[in-house]
Amino acid sequence: MAYISLTAVHKTYPNGYCALKNITLDIEAGQFIAVLGPSGAGKSTLLRAMNALDPATQGEISIDGVVLSKKNYRQMRAHIGMVFQQFNLVDRLNVMTNVLVGRLAERGWLNSLFYLFPKTDYQIAEAALREVDLLDKAWSRADKLSGGQQQRVGIARALAQQPKMILADEPIASLDPKASEEVLKLLRKICSEKGITVIVNLHQVEYAKQFADRVIALKAGQVVFDDHPDQLTQARQADIYGTTIEETTNEYELVLAHT
């Protein structure tokens, strides 16, 4: 049985806009999946439906056999890590605390009120920081770090949850190329070494080809490609994006030539 299973999932917003249409997918455990597609295709919506930040309006999503429903959002989320485009760290708090936030699902409210965590949580957080190579910054304020470093803290936070899967919603869209590669290499390493299922939203087709085991492409809320990245030829890309990278470059040169 597939680890993550989406069946006839629809997402319609209150204003009538239909972001996901009849998505049916099966995802095996331990895969590294890149989700591609033009802006507005529903990539974010797809991920956010999986951890119910924006729950699906129709259809069923089940993870490891358990169906996602209003009653179990919090418990499910405890084992689903998420990495955000804007990092979503708490600027004023130090890196360690931001990582410890990943443990909150298992902590009661009283200890959380006083920012208290048990020793075991610190050990888990330390391991997570070691994994992302930011141990030396553990006590720095989160907003004092570079973009790439902040995203790695975000990944550490997800790791601290000891998740079975990590959803990364455009994790490199705010990063420069060097930091982007670092982050994707890190996610790939986590997937291969720990067997954590990783699903990443991306714009860059080259990264998808470089890192992913499987590419799912969305267009206007529907799956238009679901295969090994090697199958992602120019022609297929044209279908997804409406054009290819080569073509756009040529158009640009054409425009330049005529001015």
């Binding site: 130090n94 360690m96 605390t97 200890n111 920012y115 208290l116 048990p118």
Partner: protein, 271 residues
Amino acid sequence: MNMSWYWPTPNGKPPLIAVLSVIVPLAVLLLTASTVDMSYNKIFYAIPRMLDFTKNLWVMPDWHYVPQLAKKMLETVEMTLLATALAILLSMPLGVLAAKNASPHPIIFRITRDLLSFIRALPELVWALVFVSALGLGPLPGIMALSLVTVGFMGKFIAESIEVVDAKAIEGLESTGCTKFQSILYAMLPQAVPDFIGSLLYILDHNLRAASILGLVGAGGIGYDMVMSMRLFNYERIGMIALSIYALVTLLDRLSDVFRQKALGGILNVH
């Protein structure tokens, strides 16, 4: 399972500032509890009396009182509007005088600044006491007290807004050879206006509340009726008064929200 709990700091203990900001106020509270007669007994025994009071409020309103109530509420609103309008008028020139970069002379700047601080420092009710003592009862001392204090706040606010105005706009104007007065009018004041509108709404809200209690010392408005009905245990009237004040303040609140959303944009397109 014995888990030892730590704070997320290098040494596992809470940061000093956090500890102090809890301990110090607590210590002050404990030390000063007697000064305010803080006693659980007093509060505890007061609860049934307050419930009693609330129960007594659910009586038929005194319909004969409505005309006077309306008159006094209207007076309260009028006091607020008039005092605020006067204050705006007075505070603009004073604000200019109290702004370091617009004031004609450093001595004038200092005097105006200190004067504004002085009139700001006393609560409206204290000024009202003074003015009632000088002018007798009625809304006039109340209006004076309200305007005075508002001028104090508005004047300071305008002065500060003028001081942080964009120097480039001023330069642009001065390069055309205009006078200081013109540069104030065309560069400084217009830039200060949007923030001014925002604070105006706060001031109106504050003044309405202040106006509703000035009557306590005879300076007009619903305050006098409010105190007298409490003293005479006129439960019907107290409920009506409280309700009308609540309605008025809430109305102003909603209007401010609407105005805030719409106006910071449209109406200010002066030219």
